[in-house]
């Protein structure tokens, strides 16, 4: 098997999914009708509700949903071989993930552009809405714990990425200021800032910040040092107004994402490396069983509930025609999934460009991937990019930097999300402490910090990834439930939503149950507790769904 064959397979499936399945969904299931006014037109206010060209909206939607998620999941999951990961990413995207995004978008459009949480509250009551909020809160806490570890790991393994990763901060601030302040050519401005960033990659490559230097300077373990600094940074960055740092940074990230995708895909097509990983490895040393853990390890890229928040939060208020939902919702997700595919190619085939047995070195056991799965993406991806004539070391720094940038922006956003939710809970339960933005931020940062430090002094941050995946998919299950309830109330065919919904519930509940059981046996109280919390939320969701469905039939 070679990289090109994998890519061809994936894109063939995507094309069929988009041309055939999404057509079926839009015609037969949701009966999209362009003569129906979308909320963007009906409620047009040019603030929230803005009718937008579908390609612009696709660009906005795609860059909002794609980040470090589809890089980390597949990088771990290829330990079970390339085939299961590839099949889940591609088929999961076509039949579940993209369907979820699309249906959340359409359901929101049909409810005046309201968000999935609000629609859920309408259908299933206040309790379901609080579960929804708690799930998002859990997601945000878990994602920060994992991403802080991932960034710190990249900083210690690829010290050349430290300078470029931090230089984006002043660059983004100046970029954001220039956009609003000077009437300059936008493309030119973007190119100049991207070039400045790449120069910083070059500088970083020449002046790596070695972990030993840090250790001598501070006397602290470099990994812990970076995790601590990252949380400190996130605490302050998330308190700034969004337009100062987060937004321009997010925009530059969106451009980088395209650069990364193009470079890796072209590199893979030029080099066409052979796959050095086994197709299937049912029982890697120390790994949990492939079912259900593969399916929750890869959440983003195959199915991610977070997308429902974007689909129903902003995108649905800007969709100009109902039929555009197919392009924006369905195709947007396939775009994210294609990032997961190239990560699989990088880790299983790209690594063979480094050395033929590099895969078996890095993926020797479940324990080793904690430290080696992200470096595998960096090494494999750099292998692909270096076939375009770019220096291998420089390619490594570039990819490591980009992953850090995506992850750091997500940390910033998720602390903000935690703050909003804590504020809302503070209002619901009348707690002053949660209503204060500073204390809410502090609580948000501290909870993630406690999680990551309590596992082998930060080194076990990765152990939360599968739980994050499960929580993310549970959120997706809730969005699917909302779409199901809507379709049923309209007397439309529901199987296309119901089957993924049941599948997701089975996968996540069995995974969390097994995780809880294993960790209780191992006397790992923290992991057992976190799994138990997610499992409890899941049981509440199942019971609520049954109640709502039953009541509906009355």
């Amino acid at each position: 098997m070679s990289a090109i064959e994998i890519i061809l397979f994936a894109f063939l499936m995507y094309a069929m999914g988009y041309l055939l399945y999404s057509r079926y969904l839009s015609k037969k299931v949701f009966s999209l009708d362009d003569s129906r006014k979308t909320p963007a037109w009906e409620l047009r206010d040019d603030v929230d509700y803005v009718p937008t060209n579908r390609w612009i909206l696709l660009g906005h939607h795609f860059t909002s949903i794609t980040g470090a998620g589809p890089i980390i999941g597949p990088a771990i999951a290829v330990i079970w071989g390339w085939l299961p990961a590839l099949l889940w990413v591609v088929l999961g995207a076509v039949f579940i993930g993209a369907v979820h995004d699309f249906s959340a978008l359409v359901t929101s459009i049909r409810h005046k552009g309201k968000s999935i949480g609000t629609i859920l509250g309408n259908y299933a009551g206040e309790k379901a809405r609080i579960v929804f909020l708690l799930l998002i809160l859990a997601l945000a806490i878990l994602v920060n714990a994992v991403f802080a570890y991932v960034i710190a790991l990249l900083f210690t393994k690829f010290p050349a990425s430290v300078i470029p990763a931090w230089s984006i901060v002043p660059l983004a601030v100046i970029f954001g200021y220039s956009v609003y302040r000077f009437r300059v050519n936008f493309v030119l401005l973007s190119i100049v800032f991207l070039l400045l960033l790449y120069i910083s990659v070059f500088v970083g490559n020449s002046f790596p910040v070695y972990p030993d230097i840090l250790k001598n300077l501070t006397g602290i373990d470099p990994l812990i040092f970076w995790i601590f600094i990252l949380f400190l940074y996130t605490f302050f960055a998330s308190s700034l107004p969004v337009w100062v740092l987060l937004q321009p940074r997010d925009f530059l990230n969106g451009l980088q994402l395209i650069v990364l995708l193009v470079l890796m895909y072209v590199g893979a097509l030029v080099a066409d490396p052979v796959v050095s990983a086994p197709a299937i490895n049912i029982d890697p040393e120390g790994a949990p069983s492939i079912f259900p853990f593969l399916f929750i390890t890869i959440a983003c890229g195959a199915l991610s509930g977070f997308h429902a928040l974007v689909s129903s939060g902003t995108t649905s208020k800007q969709l100009s025609k109902e039929s555009d939902a197919r392009t924006v919702g369905y195709l947007g997700f396939l775009g994210e999934s294609s990032l997961a595919v190239i990560v699989i190619v990088a880790c299983t085939a790209g690594l063979s460009l480094v050395s033929y047995d590099r895969y078996s070195e890095l993926y020797s056991s479940w324990d080793s991937i904690k430290k080696s799965s992200i470096p595998a993406v960096v090494e494999g991806g750099a292998g692909l990019i270096s076939s375009l004539g770019i220096d291998y070391g420089l390619s490594q720094t570039l990819i490591a930097t980009l992953i850090v940038l995506f992850a750091a922006t997500t940390m910033d956003t998720s602390v903000r999300i935690q703050r909003y939710i804590l504020n809302e809970l503070g209002h619901i339960y009348d707690l002053k402490l949660l209503r204060n933005p500073w204390s809410a931020s502090l609580i948000a940062v501290l909870t993630s910090m406690v999680l990551v430090f309590s596992k082998e002094e930060g080194k076990g941050g990765f152990l939360f990834w599968p739980i994050f995946g499960a929580a993310n998919q549970l959120l997706a299950a809730l969005a699917l439930l909302v779409s199901f309830l809507y379709l049923r109330s309209e007397r439309k065919p529901t199987l296309a939503i119901l089957i993924p919904f049941m599948l997701v519930l089975i996968i996540t509940s069995s995974a969390m149950f097994l995780n809880f059981l294993n960790n209780t046996l191992k006397k790992d109280i923290l992991l057992a507790t976190v799994s138990f919390i997610i499992l409890t939320l899941e049981v509440v969701i199942i019971l609520e769904s049954i109640r709502v469905v039953k009541n509906g039939y009355k």
Binding site: D46, N53, W55, G59, H60, T63, F186, V187, Q247, Q318
Partner: protein, 80 residues
């Protein structure tokens, strides 16, 4: 559409929310003064405002819709 336009639009759409919102708030305050009589307050500047009312018809229409009134609430400005 050129790439410049495309990127600019994405940026505006993604991040212009805060600006759009505060511009809208200022507009609302302005319209509030313009139609102050409707809220039972004397409008000393009616004479000066009268001149711009024709210019604001479209604006007025979207404003009363935003305020949750399908039809124009004022007798002397009929809905389109």
């Amino acid at each position: 559409m050129g790439i410049n336009e495309f990127l600019k639009e994405i940026y505006r759409l993604k991040f212009g929310y805060g600006f759009r919102k505060s511009a809208r708030q200022m507009e609302e305050v302005f319209l509030f003064f313009l139609f102050a009589e409707y809220f039972g307050m004397p409008n000393y500047f009616k004479f000066y405002f009268a001149e711009i009312i024709p210019e604001l018809l479209e604006e007025f229409h979207s404003w009363h819709r935003r305020m949750g009134m399908e039809k124009s609430p004022l007798e002397w400005i009929r809905c389109c």
